[in-house]
């Protein structure tokens, strides 16, 4: 057992946990943030994607003890109201989710992509958004990322 202080969505959380416990389960079971999902546990599906210092990361593979001072952002912390990040706005516009279970991960992967490539090509999207969606929302994910990129440019233009 180890005493850890994790910075999640801008808040510090003090927890006592086996440091080998994956960040995914610390988020879900110790912190109570269930928006980050368990799908496979072996970094195949991406349902557990969070941002670690801005980088899209599959949290099922990150031992809690290795997080250190890295800033973690989960789906709950992506935007203040849960709907205003350009990716979330575009997702609603394109009606992307079906069952929705993978969408936290899809959204976090896509938001990280836009942060590094504000105007991604289809090839960029295919390279960077490799999360599994069993409902098959890929066509709308692709379209929504392009829309979000345009929204971001417009928003930045105004600012």
């Amino acid at each position: 057992m180890a005493k850890l202080a994790l910075t999640i969505n801008g808040k510090s959380h003090a927890i006592e946990v086996d440091p080998e416990t994956p960040l995914l389960w610390v988020l879900r079971e110790w912190i109570g943030l269930t928006g980050t999902k368990y799908g496979c546990g072996v970094a195949q599906c991406g349902a557990c994607t969070v941002h670690m210092d801005g980088v899209a990361t599959r949290s099922c593979q990150i031992p809690a003890g290795s997080v250190g001072t890295a800033k973690i952002v989960t789906i709950e912390g992506l935007s203040p109201d849960g709907m205003s990040h350009p990716i979330q706005v575009a997702w609603l516009q394109h009606e992307v989710p079906q069952c929705g279970y993978c969408q936290s991960g899809q959204i976090m992967a896509s938001a990280a992509l836009l942060a590094t490539k504000p105007q991604p090509t289809d090839a960029d999207i295919a390279d960077m958004v490799t999360n599994i969606c069993r409902c098959g929302t890929y066509q709308r994910i692709k379209a929504a990322i392009h829309t979000a990129a345009d929204l971001s440019v417009n928003a930045n233009g105004k600012a």
Binding site: W25, E29, G35, G82, M83, L92, E95, G100, T137, Q139
Partner: protein, 716 residues
């Protein structure tokens, strides 16, 4: 329709979801529910005009929740901006003699099997609102009209908002006989309105059953004997008792053991360390090769159940100028819902409560009662949105297990989650199937005889023996029944099935047997067209002389796809059509295959005639999504068996389609009206054969066994 309903059922349902506020999918707060007036059984209206529509079916991504709300709201003449939805709880349905009908959500029946009574339910509410307003004004009801949640008295221009009159309306007896609108009067049906339940899926706030958190809750990880039919012999709990968080180690039924811990991750780690002895039973030596050989014995067996036949196939085939034969095969497939199987259960004071993502709330209730050994009336079921269903969540095995565990630890809610490995190893798989296809042509290249012989495992035999008819499983002939089969003009036809069951559990997988049957038939028809020297589209058109609806969809798709027009170099087309779940579908795929054999699907044009289209945008979403599910099975995924158990236990060995492989999908709706067809499943069947036929066009290689990863498609 006139009984009074107990309000408490709906209050309890709202607590299950956690009461989160949302745009359109939230259960009403206790306060709102108390002030909302009940108009019949399908809708309540609050003083602030919020219309809450009750949904008995389950939402698993297919959009049924929104579609059903559209049907009720249209008849109610409700303003869609104020419409929300809530689940009817299974215990409410039970206590009210199934007033809300069947809760089972499968077979693409969510809309089409509910459409009559939910629309009537909306119309009842509208009649009550009119009656109440007319009484208040002292005018005849016939002088009143409705629209956008307002009752208006046309001669005087007086108006009452639904919220103002709902409380009065609720005191009236619901009329027994109401008329529903004609299609020309529809305002919401046919409109691509936004889904009611999207917002929480973007913020991480939607609580799936796997996310349930309750006071004092413990978490359970489970493993059942990996060999189907095997039993639990013993386990050594002492070895893991001191591991972090571990509270209990319990046997579950006669074939599984569960570790219960403070956290699920602790339970999972302890379970991995638990010494377990299995009695693997008589199936422990079976492998996929043996299973394939067993299934193949059905291809030429004398005994076979008839799906349909007319004319005399044997005689016509014997005298045919040209004969074509081919054998096809299709492996087991797993559902692999992204939310693994799970259920939370609490057993206390002889009562059972469960929190579950289920495709059938009624069945979850019955399973919980049976496993808990309690009366149906002593069970409460909290329905949650499903993280994928695809047929898997019609089965209630996780509910039974969770209750069996909870009963051994009374008073504590127990959340049982299956690991992905457990989920993959204990499914109800899409049945393994082979087919021997034979056709005879006359000298002019006309098809004079067709025989499709299935040799396949039977879902009905495994899950629903009562549905077997004289030893025949009619589910096996999906897409090949008289109502569905597109080539009824073939004069000598026989479609039959030699059932070959295995020890592997099978079940309903999105599209069920239309998946395999469409590959067998539509790829073979392409082979026959080639042998006849005819264009695959023209060839099908001739065979569809007696099937105008099939033909119309095919024509719509062919026209949109530009069949016969030039394509970029290296790109080839393939076509397929099918009918199932009450709808008619077709697809044209555009595919290229590199010299090394790498396949790219560039575009698929997909058509569906589902009769009436309730929400065109959601239908398009289902078409796109069904293709991903169906093409995953065509490209790369399969379940194989070794030593009696499943070999592929995670997505690394059961690869599924990802965004990079997604073609452009164009949905063509050709709703011909006059019937209500299904949407979630019908189109899944046509993507694989259309793509396989295009692969043949590109490479000259005919793929007759799936998945594609077994084949070398390199070509000069």
């Amino acid at each position: 329709m006139t009984q009074q309903l107990s309000r408490r059922f709906f209050l309890s349902a709202s607590a299950a979801i956690g009461g989160g506020l949302s745009l359109g999918w939230s259960l009403p707060s206790a306060q709102a529910a108390e002030t909302a007036a009940e108009l019949g059984i399908w809708a309540t209206i609050a003083p602030d005009d919020t219309v809450t529509i009750r949904i008995a079916r389950s939402e698993m991504g297919q959009g049924t929740l929104t579609g059903l709300a559209q049907l009720v709201a249209d008849e109610l003449d409700a303003d869609w901006r104020f419409v929300k939805a809530e689940y009817v709880s299974p215990e409410a349905n039970l206590a009210n003699k199934r007033a809300w009908g069947d809760m089972s959500t499968g077979g693409s029946r969510g809309i089409r099997a509910s459409v009559e009574y939910v629309r009537k339910g909306g119309a009842v509410g509208r009649a009550m609102l009119i009656q109440a307003a007319a009484a208040k004004w002292g005018v005849p009801a016939t002088e009143c009209t409705t629209g956008l949640s307002v009752v208006a008295h046309t001669p005087t221009g007086r108006r009452l908002r639904y919220g103002e009159i709902a409380a009065d309306a609720a005191k009236l007896p619901p009329p027994a006989d109401v008329k529903v609108k004609t299609p020309a009067e529809w305002k919401l049906i046919g409109r691509g309105v936004k889904r009611l339940d999207t917002a929480e899926k973007l913020s991480g706030k939607l609580v799936y059953a796997i996310d349930v958190q309750l006071p004092d809750m413990l978490n359970a990880a489970i493993t059942a004997c990996p060999v189907f039919g095997g039993k639990l012999k013993s386990f050594d709990a002492a070895k893991i008792q001191s591991m972090p968080g571990v509270r209990h180690v319990v046997a579950v039924d006669d074939n599984a053991v569960a570790v219960v811990a403070d956290k699920w991750y602790q339970a999972k780690m302890a379970l991995a360390a638990l010494p377990i002895v299995w009695d693997e039973g008589p199936n422990a030596s079976i492998d996929s090769k043996q299973i394939a050989a067993h299934v193949a014995t059905g291809l030429d067996a004398k005994d076979a159940g008839i799906g349909q036949q007319h004319g005399d196939f044997d005689a016509a085939f014997a005298s045919a100028a040209k004969k074509i034969e081919a054998v096809y095969s299709s492996p087991f497939q797993h559902h692999a819902t992204l939310e693994p199987m799970n259920c939370t259960a609490k057993f206390a004071d002889g009562k059972v409560e469960v929190w579950v993502s289920s495709q059938n709330g009624d069945a979850s209730l019955a399973a919980a009662a049976e496993a808990g050994g309690v009366k149906l009336a002593d069970v409460k079921v909290h329905k949650h949105h499903l993280g994928g269903g695809f047929g898997r969540r019609g089965q209630q095995d996780p509910v039974k297990q969770a209750v069996q565990i909870a009963k051994q630890i009374p008073g504590k809610p127990i959340k049982l989650i299956w690991s992905r490995e457990e989920d993959m190893a204990h499914g109800f798989y899409r049945p393994i199937a082979q087919a021997k296809m034979r056709a005879g042509l006359d000298a002019a290249g006309n098809v004079v005889a067709l025989h499709g012989r299935l040799a396949a495992q039977s879902i009905a035999a495994y899950l629903a023996p009562a549905r077997m008819v004289n030893g025949v499983d009619m589910i096996a002939f999906q897409g090949w029944t008289e109502e569905e089969f597109g080539y009824m003009a073939i004069p000598n036809l026989r479609l039959d099935d030699a059932i070959r069951n295995t020890h592997v559990p099978v079940g309903f997988w999105r599209g069920v047997n239309t998946n395999q049957n469409a590959v067998f038939m539509e790829c073979f028809i392409d082979e026959v067209a080639l042998a006849a020297g005819k264009d695959p589209v023209e060839f099908r058109r001739t065979l569809m002389a007696k099937n105008p609806r099939h033909l119309a969809v095919l024509n719509a798709v062919v026209e949109r796809a530009g069949w016969g027009t030039p394509l970029p170099k290296g790109v080839f087309r393939g076509v397929a059509q099918n009918a199932g779940f009450g709808s008619y579908v077709a697809a044209v795929a555009e595919v290229s295959v590199t010299a090394k054999g790498e396949v790219t699907i560039h575009r698929i044009v997909a058509g569906t005639d589902c009769g009436y289209a309730v929400n065109p945008d959601q239908i398009a979403a289902q078409v796109e999504g069904s293709f991903v599910y169906g093409l995953s099975a065509m490209f790369s995924s399969e379940i194989t068996i070794d030593k009696g158990r499943v070999v592929e236990t995670n997505f690394d060995t059961y690869p599924v389609m990802k965004l990079a492989q997604m073609p452009k999908v164009e949905t063509v709706l050709v709703p011909s009206g006059g019937f209500w067809g299904g949407v979630g499943e019908p189109t899944i069947a046509v993507a694989p054969p259309a793509v396989l036929n295009a692969i043949f066009a590109a490479t000259g290689k005919r793929v007759r066994s799936l998945p594609l990863t077994h084949h070398d498609l390199s070509h000069a």
